[in-house]
Amino acid sequence: MVTRRRFLVFAATASAVTASGTPASASAQRASKSAAPAKIGVVHFSENADAPVVVGLRQGLKDLGYVEGKDIVLEIHAARSDYATALASTQQLVKSRAQILVSAGTLATKAAKEGGGALPIVFTQVGEPIAAGFVKSLLQPGGNITGFSHLLTENTGKRLELLKELVPACRTVLVMFDPANPTSQAAVAAAHASAKKLNVRMRERQIRNHDEVVKTIQDIDRQSIDAMLMIPDSLVVNAGKQIIEMAQRQKLPVMFHEDTWVNRGGLASYGPSFVDLGRRAATYVDRILKGAKPGDLPVEQPTRFDLVINVKTARALGLTIPRELLLLADRTIQ
């Protein structure tokens, strides 16, 4: 047994030395030989466990050769739009000896940073990591944190442009956001700039908590607005389900930033795939497991932006999607 243990120590050292050049499968094997699987903690704000980040992370780790349950264990915490829950989840993960925290969204990341202590953090779906105070720079994040931003603030105008194309008759567009969220404020500012160019009026609704979101949705005056643009604000996004229900009820076209909502009945979305972000997070998890310092890993930007259109919803809304736009869509839901 002593010999075997020594061998394992040796193998681990050797693998660590070979660092980045070693293929994932080799490291997976090493991980499998280690006594206990590495525990990865995941914190997101969704209500369901199958959040896009989890799906992507699983895929990414599998692609890198990790076998779940053998090499790694995922401990997933859905905070259900509640910061306190998210904070409790992170503390729980520290207790249960998770080796890395993967967070999805600005609030979850904030919770992870506050409650995770020295645990390495890989964040995803964060719009403005510098503005949020997570990292010092994208190139050298520093500390124990790195991750993937979504650029959704920057392409807010693009989404508005696409919304105008989908609903050419729209004149007034509703946006909801949490004024306390800097990312949301930046997004709204970007939307305002674009709206001028597109000759569209903006109808802003500030919300501060989930109840306000729900109330705002319920109080929507369909006559005064033609469409709605989703701001990737955690509070708003967490009411996505209610928004879709409202939209169907009110026959209101809503432009999302992420295709999960389109799958559930949203009209369209344009933005980076959160599943893809989760997949990329897996590569950083892999490298951190192999000994890389999170602070040395640059914060990456998404490269793919998918246009997803739910044709069924469009039909229900009585909209005719221009043929050119359908051809440009990366995915359509019939």
Partner: protein, 745 residues
């Protein structure tokens, strides 16, 4: 033992050296080629990987360039800005790496902008005529900008392509290079190898570890990057240090349109691992081969040494005298043959030892026999001598007593007979002694037989007549080649024997020719010899059972002398006899031609010519002998001068005496003076070679040779009167005749 060890070591060292040298040389040559080939294969493999990576990136970029070109083609006939915008949006969808496209008119004014992140614009009027991309593309070439980073972390490159024909539009696209990164990350070189890309400035723009790229590493100082940027035809695969300082086998290939270089590298340890494995294997094989060769050498050296050792041991045994030992080497090769030769040699040695021992025994027996014979001979001789001497003593006593002259006369006759008997016996003994000493040298000449036979008849006819026996001679014309004196002596003995042992009948001597030989036969009708005695009669003092018929007592030496003479002359003697009927003795002599055969000087008393009046100088220190000889010579009418020594002789001659015609001198004079010396001195003094007869009782070879050397005649004591007279006559008459040194009495 040193032999074994040194030979063994020699063989062993020789074998090991030979096999090892062959193995090492072949192994090293093999190693060398394996190393070179593997290295070449590795290097070319690396090079191919670099080229493949470069061509993939190049293809990728060219694809994008082509896509941009196609968009321009689609635009033909479509003029509305909305339609053109849609075409470019399709392009963005097709090529995920392009994030923004700007279309400029010929003047460099922005006409259309399509973006993934920002809003599209169709009404912009920005002037980009000073943009590097615009300027480059307008000159007809595709423009590739240096790599730049958006938001610090996103690598980008601008591509500008000029439109075709009159439109002369310039399409400027922003390309996200993360796709190149992904492409590079997927390139795997062995376990630890990787690929990376540097741009025209030598800056790292793609690496599997993005961190290095984002740190904007400047690799222009690396030798391999320098070499690549310098271009040229140098070695494109080298061993160098990687950007991270590891020793690697690195190869590069250029991406022509971009001016970038793709490097593939693999840690040297890993790249050469198969090579080292191969070298190790070859080395192990070499060591195994060497060990095997040493083992084989030990075995073969031992095997070769073993028979040699056996032969050595066998030879030692032979040397120690154990000739019955046999060397047991059954190799069937030259060593086996050598062992066989050794065995045969030992066998022959043993046989020859046995033969030698037999011969020694034989010779010892012969020597003992000869000794016994000699003793017997001496005993017989002394006995035979004692008889007549004893008789002489008695006769002398009788003579002193006898007064009657007739009685005295009879006694004197008996004294004479006894003296003759003693003289004969002594002569015969001397003859045998001389023959046995080997001092007699045969003087072989050609001569006619008849005169010799005539003398034989003269010698025996009277004796035969006296006993009523016939003595007949058959005349012969044959001449023979042998020593005439010795042949006569043989025949005299045979004839004497024949006469002595024949009671009645007669003796016949005949000669017949048998081929090239003359067979001389002496027949008698005597008592004969029993077959068992026919060999023994030639022994000394052997007398056959029958007593001599003449009543005398034979000496028993005649046939012994005949036997010695025939052997000396190389003649065969043959005896045939029937007891009671007679015997035949025959000898065969080689025939010679009768031409120019000189006559043999006669020694017969009848031929003794006149010598009266001859002056003789007689020298003898013994007074009795001198006076007896003086008396005899005076009787023959010679004038005699006598001297007792050389001095007296000189005195006589210097006193005026006339030179003598003949000198007769004793051999040994008193006081060590030799007759030969005195005669030579006289001859010298007188200046005349006076014929001389030396009389000697000395039978030594030395005296004989001295006399022969001085060319003097020799007569043996006791002198016989007739003989002396015949010789004197011969000497005086034939003064020039050669002296016969071997002359017998």
């Amino acid at each position: 033992m040193t032999l074994r060890r040194s030979l063994f070591r020699k063989y062993f060292v020789c074998f090991v050296a030979l096999v090892s040298a062959a193995l090492i040389v072949s192994g090293l040559v093999g190693l060398h080629f394996t190393y070179q080939e593997n290295k070449a294969a590795l290097l070319s493999l690396q090079q191919e990987k670099a080229v493949a990576a470069a061509s993939r990136i190049e293809t990728y970029v060219q694809d994008i360039e082509r896509q941009l070109g196609w968009v321009r083609l689609w635009q033909v006939g479509r003029t509305t800005p909305e339609q053109r915008r849609n075409e470019y949006r399709k392009l963005l969808r097709l090529v995920p790496a392009i994030t923004d496209v700007v279309v400029l008119d010929a003047a460099g004014r922005e006409q259309l902008r399509v973006s993934r992140l920002a809003m599209d614009s169709m009404d912009g009027d920005t002037d980009l005529s000073n943009d590097a991309g615009f300027l480059e593309a307008r000159s007809g070439r595709t423009y590739f900008s240096p790599v730049y980073f958006r938001k610090d972390t996103e690598p980008y490159m601008t591509i500008a392509v000029a439109g075709a024909g009159d439109s002369a539009e310039i399409t400027v696209a922003e390309l996200n290079l993360k796709f190149v990164w992904e492409l590079i990350s997927r390139i795997r070189i062995g376990q630890q190898g990787l690929a990376y890309v540097v741009d025209t400035r030598g800056h790292l723009i793609a690496h599997p570890d993005i961190t290095y790229v984002l740190q904007r590493q400047d690799l222009s100082a690396l030798p391999q990057v320098k070499a690549a940027r310098a271009g040229g035809e140098g070695e494109r695969v080298t061993i160098a240090h990687s950007p991270q300082g590891q020793e690697v086998l690195t190869a590069h290939a250029g991406i022509a349109p971009l001016g970038w270089h793709v490097f593939v590298e693999q840690p040297v340890a890993e790249a050469f691992a198969p090579l080292y494995t191969s070298l190790e294997r070859t080395g192990l094989l070499l060591v195994a081969g060497l060990l095997l060769s040493i083992g084989a050498s030990l075995y073969f050296a031992r095997r070769m040494i073993k028979p040699i050792k056996a032969i050595e041991a066998g030879a030692a045994q032979f040397a120690a005298g154990n000739l019955d030992e046999r060397i047991d080497v059954d190799t069937g090769d030259e060593l086996g043959a050598l062992a066989g030769e050794f065995n045969a040699m030992a066998h022959k040695l043993r046989d020859s030892y046995a033969g030698l021992e037999q011969k020694i025994e034989e010779r010892t027996r012969q020597l003992a026999e000869a000794n016994r014979t000699k003793s017997r001979f001496l005993a017989a001789a002394s006995h035979d001598l004692r008889q007549p001497v004893h008789a002489l003593g008695l006769f002398v006593a009788q003579l002193q007593e006898a007064r009657d002259p007739s009685a005295r006369e009879r006694i004197i006759e008996k004294v004479e007979a006894s003296t003759t008997a003693v003289s004969h016996l002594v002569e015969a003994l001397l003859d045998i002694s001389k023959l046995d000493q080997g001092t007699v040298e045969p003087q072989v000449t050609d001569f006619a037989l008849q005169p010799l036979l005539d003398r034989l008849e003269q010698a025996f006819s009277l004796t035969a007549q006296a006993r009523d026996l016939r003595f007949r001679l058959r005349p012969t014309p044959l001449c023979v080649s042998t020593d005439p004196m010795l042949l006569e002596r043989i025949l005299l003995n045979l004839a004497a024997n024949a006469v002595r042992y024949t009671k009645e009948g007669g003796i016949v001597v005949g000669v017949r020719q048998r081929g090239t030989r003359a067979r001389i036969e002496v027949w008698d009708t005597g008592v004969g010899i029993a077959p068992g005695e026919q060999r023994r009669i030639f022994e000394e003092f052997y007398q056959a059972g029958a007593a001599p018929s003449d009543g005398s007592k034979g000496l028993g030496l005649g046939l012994a002398i005949v036997d010695r003479l025939t052997r000396l002359l190389g003649l065969a003697i043959e005896v045939r006899s029937i007891p009671g009927a007679g015997s035949v003795f025959a000898i065969e002599v080689p025939i010679a031609s009768c031409e120019a055969t000189p006559p043999i000087p006669a020694m017969s008393p009848r031929d003794a010519g006149r010598i009266d009046g001859v002056s003789v100088l007689l020298i003898d220190d013994d007074t009795g002998a001198r006076e007896a000889a003086e008396g005899l010579l005076a009787q023959w009418g010679c004038r005699v001068m006598s001297a007792a020594s050389g001095k007296e002789a000189y005195d006589l001659l210097s006193a005026g005496a006339a030179a003598p015609a003949v000198i007769i001198s004793d051999y040994r004079l008193g006081g060590n003076e030799l007759g030969t010396d005195v005669v030579q001195a006289i001859r010298a003094r007188l200046g005349v070679e006076i014929p001389t007869v030396i009389v000697s009782a000395d039978s030594s070879a030395a005296s004989f040779q001295a006399i022969a050397a001085a060319r003097l005649h020799l007569l043996r004591k006791p002198l016989k009167a007739a003989q002396l007279r015949a010789l004197l006559h011969h000497v005086v008459v034939c003064a020039d005749s050669d002296p016969k040194t071997a002359a017998l009495p």
